[in-house]
C-alpha cells in the first residue's frame, strides 16, 4: 500500500526531476534518505543561486499578495523562467517600501497598493545594491487565519481564447509563520502561473486551515516540504485544486 508520505515524496521527486534532471540521476528520490540528500544538495547550491527573484515587502495581506505574485510571475519571460526554474524559483524576501525605492530601482512588477514589488528573476549580482540597502523580511509571526476570500488573478492579461477557471487555494496555518507561508505560496503560485495552471481571469478561492486535506487526487499542484523538526517527514503546506464549479 502506498502511504501518504510516499505520495508526497513522489511529488517532490517530480519537481526536482523537472528542475534538475541530473539530481534525479544522482539520488534515489523515491526513498526518504535519497530525497533528503538531494534536498541538502539543493539547499547548499541555493547559497550561491545564480538566478533569483527579489520580492520587497512593505505590508503583507494574503489576498493582495497572492494577486500581485501571480501578476509578477505572468510577466516573467520564457528565457528568464528557464534559469529560474533550475534554481527552483528561488525568491528572496526583503523588508522595504517600494514607494521609497522607485526612483533608484526598476521593478518588474509593483502591487496595486504599493505593498510589494518584484525584481528579476535575474543573476543574483544584479540585485546586490538593493539587497544591501534593505534587510531580510522577518515574518516570524504566526500566519493569521482569515475567512475564505476569492482572488481574481491576471484580470488584465489577454486570455488568448482560454476560458477562466476557478480553483481553491489551500493554505496550511498550523505551525506556519508568515515567512514560511511566503516561501511556500511563492513557489506554488509562480510555478503554477509559469505552467499555465493558473491563467488570465482565474479565480482562486483562498482557504486557510491548520492542515491541508490529504487526498492527492484533488490537487492540480501542491507545495510540499519537510517539517522543521523532521526534514524527512513531508507535509503539504499549500495546494491548488483542480477546477471547481459552483453548485
Amino acid at each position: 500500500m502506498t502511504t501518504s508520505q510516499e505520495l508526497l515524496r513522489a511529488e517532490v521527486a517530480r519537481r526536482i526531476a523537472t528542475a534538475r534532471p541530473e539530481l534525479a540521476a544522482r539520488f534515489d528520490l523515491l526513498t526518504a534518505d535519497g530525497l533528503l540528500a538531494a534536498q541538502r544538495e539543493i539547499t547548499r547550491a541555493a547559497q550561491d543561486a545564480k538566478v533569483q527573484a527579489v520580492c520587497v515587502l512593505r505590508d503583507f495581506d494574503l489576498p493582495t499578495w497572492v494577486r500581485a505574485t501571480c501578476a509578477f510571475a505572468a510577466r516573467v519571460d520564457a528565457s528568464a523562467a528557464v534559469g529560474w526554474r533550475r534554481d527552483f524559483t528561488r525568491t528572496v524576501f526583503l523588508a522595504g517600501n517600494p514607494d521609497n525605492l522607485r526612483d533608484r530601482f526598476v521593478f518588474g512588477h509593483v502591487a496595486d497598493d504599493g505593498s510589494a514589488a518584484w525584481q528579476g528573476p535575474a543573476p543574483a549580482e544584479e540585485s546586490t545594491t538593493l539587497r544591501r540597502l534593505l534587510k531580510l523580511f522577518d515574518g516570524s509571526a504566526e500566519l493569521p487565519t482569515r475567512l475564505s476570500t476569492v482572488v481574481r488573478v491576471l484580470a488584465d492579461r489577454d486570455p488568448r481564447g482560454r476560458a477562466p477557471v476557478r480553483r481553491e487555494l489551500h493554505v496550511a496555518t498550523a505551525g506556519v509563520t508568515i515567512a514560511d507561508c511566503l516561501v511556500h505560496l511563492n513557489h506554488l503560485l509562480v510555478e503554477a502561473v509559469l505552467d499555465e495552471v493558473v491563467g488570465p481571469g482565474d479565480e482562486l478561492v483562498v482557504r486557510q486551515a491548520p492542515w491541508l486535506p490529504a487526498s492527492a487526487g484533488l490537487f492540480a499542484a501542491r507545495r510540499i516540504d519537510g517539517t522543521p523538526d523532521h526534514p524527512d517527514r513531508l507535509r503539504a503546506y499549500a495546494a491548488l485544486t483542480g477546477e471547481i464549479h459552483d453548485a
Binding site: 503583507f60 523588508a95 521609497n100 540597502l133 522577518d138 515574518g139 516570524s140
Partner: protein, 396 residues
C-alpha cells in the same frame, strides 16, 4: 547660567545687551540646539567621554554669547534602551536590595562589566516594570542615580554647565507617536504586525534601512533620539549633533530624518581617545587610572581650580583634536595644565577685541562656535593672550 528646564533642555539667555550691539547683523537671538550623544550612567567617565563633554561645554558657553542656545542632554530620554534597563534588572536580580549611595563610579562600573560579561539578555517581561517606571514617573535606578550624582560633582569641579543630569527630562514624543510621525513622512517601515522590527527608512536617499525597535518592541538609542529630536530640533535655527565617530552612519540618518521635519542640522564628529593606541569600550572596564575622577585628583594635587579647568580644556580640545590619532598621555595633560598656568599668570598683553568679535571668528558658515579653533587660538604664540572676558565666559 540658568538651570535645567523641563523638556526643552537648559537654555542660556541672549548675550548681554552691550555684546549684542556688536553682533554681526542677523546673528542676534538666533536659536541653537546642542544635542550631544549622552553617556549611559553605568560606569566611570573615561577620557573619551570627558573629551565629548568638554567640547560640548566650550561650544555651549562660547555660542551662548552670540545666540540663544539650548543644551539638551537628557539621561531620561535614553534610560528606556535595553543597555540601561537590562543593567538595572541585572543588578536587582543578582544583588537585590543594595545601598548604592556610598559606592564609587568604579565600583558601579565593575558591576556593569559583570553584567556585560554575563551576556544574558533579559526577557521583555522582566524589563517591563523598569521601562514603565521610567516612562511613567521618571524613575532612575539607585545605581545610576548614584553615578549621575558623582558626575554632577565632576561637572561642578570642571566648571562645566550641568544640563540637568539629575533632572527628569522626558522626550517630547512617546515611542508610538514618534513612529507615527515618521510614518507620516514616509520614513518608517513598521513590520511588527508580521513579527518583524520597526525600521527607520531613508532608502529614498540611498541610506540603508536601520532598525529602531526590535521585533519584540524594544527601542534602541536611535528610537530614543528620534522621540526627543523630532519635536525639538525644528524649533531651532540650527541643531548641532555631537557624537562618536563610530556612530556616523546613524547620525547621517538622523540628519536626513530631522531635515525632513524642517530642522537644520550640523554634525560634529569626535574621535574617541585611545589608551595606549587602543580604542576600547568602557564595557570592558579597563579604565584603571584614566577615569575623570582620577584625572581630577591628580591635577588638583598640583594646580588650583582655574588652572585645572583651563588646562583640561586645552588638552582635551586643542591637544587631542577632533580625530583620534593621539593616545591619552598623562604627561601631555600635565603640559597642558602647565600651559594653562602660564596663560592665567597674565604676563602677555590681552586681546583688545570685544568678546563677540573674538568668538565670531570661529564660526565659519554656521551659528555655533568651533571649540577646536577657539581653543587652539589661545595657544598661538603670535597672538595676544585671551582676555579675562573670554576665559571667564568659556574656560573657567
Amino acid at each position: 547660567m540658568t538651570s535645567a528646564t523641563g523638556t526643552g533642555g537648559s537654555t542660556a539667555g541672549p548675550a548681554p545687551a552691550r555684546d549684542q550691539a556688536r553682533l554681526p547683523r542677523g546673528a542676534a537671538r538666533r536659536r541653537v540646539l546642542l544635542a550631544p550623544i549622552t553617556v549611559t550612567p553605568s560606569k566611570p567617565l573615561t577620557p573619551s567621554h570627558l573629551k565629548g563633554l568638554l567640547w560640548t561645554d566650550v561650544m555651549y558657553r562660547a555660542t551662548a554669547r552670540l545666540a540663544e542656545v539650548t543644551y539638551r542632554y537628557s539621561p531620561t530620554t535614553y534610560h528606556p534602551t535595553e543597555q540601561t534597563l537590562g543593567f538595572w534588572e541585572y543588578l536587582d536580580r543578582t544583588a537585590g536590595e543594595t545601598d548604592y549611595s556610598g559606592l564609587t563610579e568604579e565600583a558601579i562600573g565593575e558591576l556593569y562589566v559583570g553584567y556585560r560579561a554575563a551576556g544574558q539578555r533579559a526577557g521583555l517581561a522582566a524589563l517591563r516594570p523598569y521601562a514603565e517606571a521610567v516612562e511613567l514617573h521618571g524613575w532612575v535606578h539607585p545605581a545610576s542615580a548614584r553615578v549621575l550624582e558623582l558626575w554632577t560633582a565632576h561637572y561642578a569641579r570642571l566648571g562645566m554647565h550641568d544640563p540637568g543630569l539629575l533632572a527628569h527630562q522626558p522626550p517630547g514624543l512617546r515611542l508610538e507617536e514618534a513612529i507615527d510621525r515618521l510614518g507620516a513622512v514616509g520614513m518608517c517601515l513598521d513590520q511588527r504586525a508580521y513579527g518583524g522590527p520597526v525600521f527607520l527608512d531613508a532608502t529614498r536617499y540611498g541610506l540603508p534601512l536601520r532598525q529602531i525597535v526590535d521585533a519584540r518592541g524594544r527601542p534602541n538609542y536611535l528610537a530614543c533620539a528620534l522621540r526627543e529630536l523630532i519635536p525639538l530640533a525644528p524649533r531651532f535655527d540650527e541643531t548641532v549633533l555631537l557624537y562618536d565617530r563610530e556612530l556616523e552612519p546613524d547620525y547621517l540618518l538622523l540628519e536626513r530624518t530631522l531635515s525632513e521635519f524642517g530642522a537644520t542640522i550640523r554634525r560634529v564628529t569626535l574621535g574617541r581617545v585611545p589608551i595606549d593606541g587602543q580604542i576600547r569600550s568602557a564595557r570592558h572596564g579597563d579604565w584603571h587610572d584614566h577615569t575623570t575622577g582620577a584625572l581630577l585628583s591628580r591635577a588638583a594635587a598640583e594646580y588650583d581650580e582655574p588652572v585645572l579647568r583651563l588646562g583640561m580644556r586645552l588638552y582635551f580640545i586643542a591637544g587631542l583634536g577632533q580625530g583620534q590619532q593621539q593616545s591619552f598621555r598623562h604627561e601631555a595633560l600635565r603640559q597642558s595644565l602647565a600651559r594653562a598656568a602660564r596663560l592665567l599668570s597674565g604676563t602677555r598683553t590681552t586681546d583688545p577685541a570685544p568678546l563677540p568679535e573674538v568668538l565670531s571668528r570661529h564660526r565659519g558658515d554656521h551659528l555655533y562656535v568651533n571649540p577646536y579653533r577657539l581653543t587652539s587660538g589661545l595657544l598661538a604664540r603670535h597672538r595676544p593672550a585671551p582676555s579675562d572676558d573670554l576665559l571667564s565666559a568659556v574656560y573657567l
